[in-house]
């Protein structure tokens, strides 16, 4: 086990990077607050989603279906399917974080894209724990603050599309997707398949269904022999 100045430097670098991620995600929180209120949710409902659901992609997916006039079932279906990746993250984090009892209940809440990515990118389990908790803290603080700003601002200023919100949302999803596309050809085929299914179904099915149906693109992957991940 290493201690001393290098360990301290690694530790403070992990803290700095974690807070930086939180700040960047904060801007996206403004967009969520605005999109949610524009979709017809109240400021309270919007803020509760950020505080308690606390998983951005899912929150956007849910309010997107509401905005399009989709059903509760379709909104919940695409939202929770997207949230299921957090289960996978938790399974990877569990042996690193080694949390029990109350700590585990809190760690579960903070298990999201950013905290997982920051934690598993560290050199030691000790740094992984530092990165996880600081990223969780940074993203949680900025995400919730900015959600309220976006929600209240939209209530006051009106149509957020004047500020380009309708371009921000697909751009943010693309930014979340891009690192996965760079990992392999199967990823790119599944993404193309999912996108093609969604485009084809937009005019044919109620809002929310095109996103749910995109999972059929996984059949592409299922036919390909699973090599080492």
């Amino acid at each position: 086990m290493t201690t001393g100045p290098p360990a301290d430097a690694a530790r403070s670098s992990a803290v700095r990077n974690s807070l930086g991620v939180g700040l960047a995600v904060g801007v996206y929180g403004v967009a969520f607050g605005a999109a949610s209120v524009a979709a017809g949710l109240s400021v309270l409902q919007t803020s509760l989603l950020s505080l308690l659901a606390f998983t951005g992609g899912t929150q956007f997916a849910v309010v997107g279906v509401v905005a399009g006039g989709g059903t509760v079932a379709a909104a919940l279906g695409s939202g929770l399917l997207l949230a299921s990746r957090n289960t996978l993250y938790a399974m990877r984090l569990a042996p690193l974080l080694r949390v029990r009892g109350l700590g585990r209940l809190v760690a579960a809440h903070g298990t999201i894209d950013e905290s997982t990515a920051m934690a598993i990118g560290q050199r030691s389990p000790e740094l992984a724990r530092v990165a996880f908790w600081w990223t969780f803290a940074g993203v949680f603080a900025f995400w919730n603050l900015s959600t309220v700003l976006g929600a209240v601002g939209t209530s006051a200023l009106g149509d957020p599309n004047r500020f380009g919100l309708d371009a921000v949302i697909p751009a943010a999803f693309l930014a979340l997707l891009a690192p996965r596309l760079r990992t392999g050809a199967i990823e790119r085929r599944v993404a193309l398949g999912g996108a093609a299914i969604a485009v084809a179904l937009i005019p044919l099915t109620p809002p929310g269904v095109p996103v749910l149906a995109s999972c059929a693109a996984l059949l592409l992957a299922a036919t390909i022999r699973g090599g080492p991940p």
């Binding site: 579960a108 999803f173 930014a175 599944v190 999912g194 095109p210």
Partner: protein, 101 residues
């Protein structure tokens, strides 16, 4: 009220999905094909969300100039590996400026 039903079930569902990962034995992911499918699920969903958010207006396909221009600017930034912050701000500013013009 169905909006509240949606908000509350989303909150409960999201938390239980996160917690489940800490409670199930890691063995559940031992099967490589199972793990691969779980990894690929968000790829399909995110790709669908990109096109739906870029092209749909309810049940209609809509090719809105400023929205698509903002998205194209962001796509270029993503391709050049710009930070997340740059990508979303560029999308919003591009679309907003075109609407002013």
């Amino acid at each position: 009220m169905s909006r509240w039903t949606l908000v509350i079930t989303t909150i409960i569902g999201c938390y239980l999905l996160k917690l489940a990962g800490y409670l199930v034995p890691a063995r559940a992911l031992d099967h490589p094909r199972m793990r691969r499918l779980v990894e690929l699920l968000p790829v399909a969903l995110l790709a669908a969300l990109v096109v739906v958010e870029a092209l749909a207006n309810g049940r209609r396909l809509q090719f809105d100039g400023p929205r698509l221009a903002g998205f194209a600017a962001a796509a270029l930034a993503v391709w050049r590996r710009a930070p997340f912050l740059v990508v979303v701000v560029l999308a919003g500013v591009t679309a907003a400026l075109l609407r002013l013009a």
